[in-house]
């Protein structure tokens, strides 16, 4: 039970990075549909950086850089060239798929055994981790999960309590007003896309060097889209994103638990693997009263 909850929290971590990134970008009017590709690029960058340097920290830095570059390409095409966000995202996702496996081959050739790195270690926090149940679940995690604890309050504070947050939200609701106020709509949106590149890169690295310690091109397998869905389902708020990621993290941990313990009984493994996606569909259908940013997905062009 404790293991399951701890696992759930761990699986939630990358989803939270991804969905908070998506919340910021979408509040400014940008659907980052390249999120799946950004995750994959991050996973690739994290592994390559860590393997070549021997340092997981450098791995994460490379992951951030890889996510940043991917997001920048997406941002330039969608914001500066005003192209369609869904279509551009789809193109980037294909490109990244090819790029990752191509560059992996360029760097490592065809290794006989799969290359691995030692994944991030859990860091038990002294005293706190001694608390029964809660301590072992919350305070016996790796560094990325600890950072996650800080992200939600920080994101909430920035989005709702600062003028920066107000500007971001206005950019998604009423870009003309932001423009009139003398701020650059395109600049703000580009900045948000870059932030989602950074956070998506870290999220991707979590999958490669956070717990598996290896890289394959199918390791993200739709998790970027899950983060994307969580942002929608959480009504574009950090609190909603937190709730959504915990639900999905728990589902995923449950699926892994059922598969490894064989306690699924009459239910096939595939059902558990598909569970997060089925859940996402059910929630998308049943969820009422969406608070969609008014100009989500609409390119902004300055009137002359």
């Amino acid at each position: 039970m404790i293991n399951l909850l701890a696992r759930a929290l761990m699986m939630s971590t990358p989803l939270l990075y991804g969905s908070i990134a998506e919340v910021f970008a979408e509040r400014s009017g940008m659907m980052v549909t390249a999120i799946e590709g950004i995750f994959l690029m991050g996973a690739w960058g994290g592994f390559v950086g860590a393997y070549l340097s021997g340092s997981l920290f450098i791995g994460i830095l490379v992951a951030i850089l890889a996510g940043l570059v991917t997001a920048a390409v997406y941002g330039v095409i969608c914001i500066h060239f005003g192209q369609h966000q869904v279509v551009t995202g789809a193109a980037i996702n294909i490109l990244v798929l090819g790029l990752c496996s191509f560059l992996y081959r360029v760097i490592f050739g065809v290794p006989i055994t799969p290359l691995t790195v030692e994944p991030l270690k859990t860091i038990p926090i002294p005293l706190l981790s001694q608390i029964p149940l809660v301590g072992r679940v919350l305070f016996n995690q790796n560094i990325l999960t600890y950072i996650m604890y800080l992200i939600v309050p920080i994101a909430y504070f920035i989005l709702y309590k600062t003028s920066i947050g107000l500007t971001i939200r206005s950019t998604g609701e009423n870009p003309e007003a932001v423009d009139v106020a003398g701020l650059s709509v395109q600049g703000i949106r580009f900045a948000m896309v870059l932030i989602s590149g950074v956070m998506g890169g870290v999220a991707g690295a979590f999958y490669s060097i956070g717990y598996l310690g290896m890289f394959t091109t199918n390791m993200i397998g739709g998790r970027g889209w899950i983060a994307f869905a969580i942002c929608f389902l959480g009504n574009w708020s950090p609190k909603g994103a937190l709730f959504g990621t915990l639900v999905f993290g728990l589902t995923e941990a449950l699926a892994i638990y059922m598969q490894s313990s064989g306690t699924g009984g009459i239910f096939p493994n595939e059902l558990f693997i598909a569970l997060p996606y089925i859940l996402a569909i059910v929630l998308t259908i049943t969820r009422k009263s969406f608070n969609v940013p008014a100009k989500l997905g609409v390119a902004y062009r300055k009137e002359n």
Partner: protein
């Protein structure tokens, strides 16, 4: 005058797309250079291999066949301003139905009739799988983008489950079905190649979809919903009904790709085959500006990238991921070419206005 303008647009489209494709290949060539191979030799192999024999050349059209269907699937809903990015899943559902019905009917019914039943059931099954997305959009206002994306992963797991249990080969070794009987194979068009009737079916379907979209009332309604949902509502078009119909047709189209692949090429169902066919279809639809006739040619182009890329990999020792790389770069440049075309259009409009201004001035001068 109007006809002339259309021609200019068409010329822009062809020209910018051609440049985009070339640029995509050039950048891929740079990637080959990074690998330490010669891109000139690689592309030399690429082009010479395509025409080296009948088999390889025909394979371009074999590869293009399912792409025509998945591209049509995306383009069709796109015309109604809906996003079906679940073509991959609908393709798998179609493949599962085609394989299981073929295995079931293979011995009992004469070949042609069996094929027809397989096709019809595939269309119905894929259509219902797709229509579900349109239904929840109409009834619960569920975001079709999310539902269609997630439905792909559900379909994939349904396929994996069936291949592990009911549909698994009798040997029980690999997650794949028994081979289909020869009677339910799609007939070959040319002996000594893999080219099958499915390609003709795909081309006819594309033409049919073009007629449906531009020459029928239903197509008109679909396009009106796509252009302006409110206006459609005002003029008495039930957009909820359109959502369901559009997604039914879209799902059926993607499922037909499953039929042609299973009955025409693989002759069995193999786990996780053609994993990028949905996203490649999306790319093709964009390349063709969602025009069903354009999709035929764009699919042949992607088919050529696929065949040439594979052989180039074998001959020059380049990993097969070069195919996705080429497709990805081509797509990016094609998207950018939309921007360039927009600029060209604005430039022309400006010129026209300037000319008109001059003419007006002249006229005034003459009048005075």
């Amino acid at each position: 005058m109007k006809k002339f303008k259309m021609d200019v647009k068409m010329r822009d489209l062809l020209l910018t797309n051609a440049i985009a494709v070339v640029l995509g290949l050039v950048v891929s060539g740079v990637m080959i250079l990074i690998l330490g191979k010669s891109p000139i030799e690689a592309f030399g192999n690429f082009f010479s291999s395509l025409v080296r024999d009948q088999y390889t050349f025909a394979d371009i059209f074999v590869k293009a066949t399912p792409l025509i269907f998945t591209a049509l699937a995306f383009a069709f809903t796109f015309k109604a301003n809906l996003f079906n990015i679940g073509a991959q899943g609908q393709f798998y559902i179609g493949a599962v139905i085609a394989a299981s019905v073929s295995l079931l009917l293979g011995e009992k019914i004469p070949g042609i009739l069996a094929l027809l039943i397989v096709l019809i059931l595939t269309i119905i099954g894929g259509g219902i799988w797709g229509a579900f997305i349109g239904f929840v959009k109409a009834k619960y206002k569920a975001n079709e983008f999310l539902v269609s994306m997630m439905s792909t992963y559900v379909a994939l797991n349904i396929m994996n489950y069936l291949l592990r249990t009911f549909l698994m080969e009798t040997k029980g070794e690999y997650p794949q079905t028994n081979p289909l009987l020869k009677e339910v194979w799609l007939p070959k068009l040319i002996d000594g190649t893999r080219l099958h009737l499915g390609f003709i079916l795909a081309v006819l379907t594309a033409i049919g979809i073009w007629i449906l979209l531009y020459k029928t009332t239903l197509g008109y309604r679909i396009r009106v919903v796509g252009l302006n949902d409110n206006a459609a509502h005002m003029s008495g078009i039930n957009s909820n009904k359109i959502y369901v119909i559009a997604f039914f047709i879209s799902g059926a189209l993607a499922a037909m790709a499953g039929f042609t692949e299973v009955n025409g090429v693989q002759h069995m169902l193999v786990q996780g085959f053609n994993p990028n066919i949905g996203s490649a279809g999306l790319g093709i639809a964009i390349l063709a500006n969602a025009n069903p006739i354009g999709i035929i040619f764009a699919s042949i182009l992607f088919g050529a990238l696929n065949v040439g890329g594979t052989i180039m990999g074998e001959l020059s020792g380049i990993p097969s991921s070069i195919i996705e790389l080429m497709q990805g770069f081509v797509m990016i440049f094609v998207i950018l070419s939309y921007f360039v075309r927009g600029r060209m259009e604005i430039g022309r409009e400006k010129k026209k206005i300037q000319l008109q201004g001059k003419e007006n001035k002249l006229q005034k001068a003459v009048e005075q």
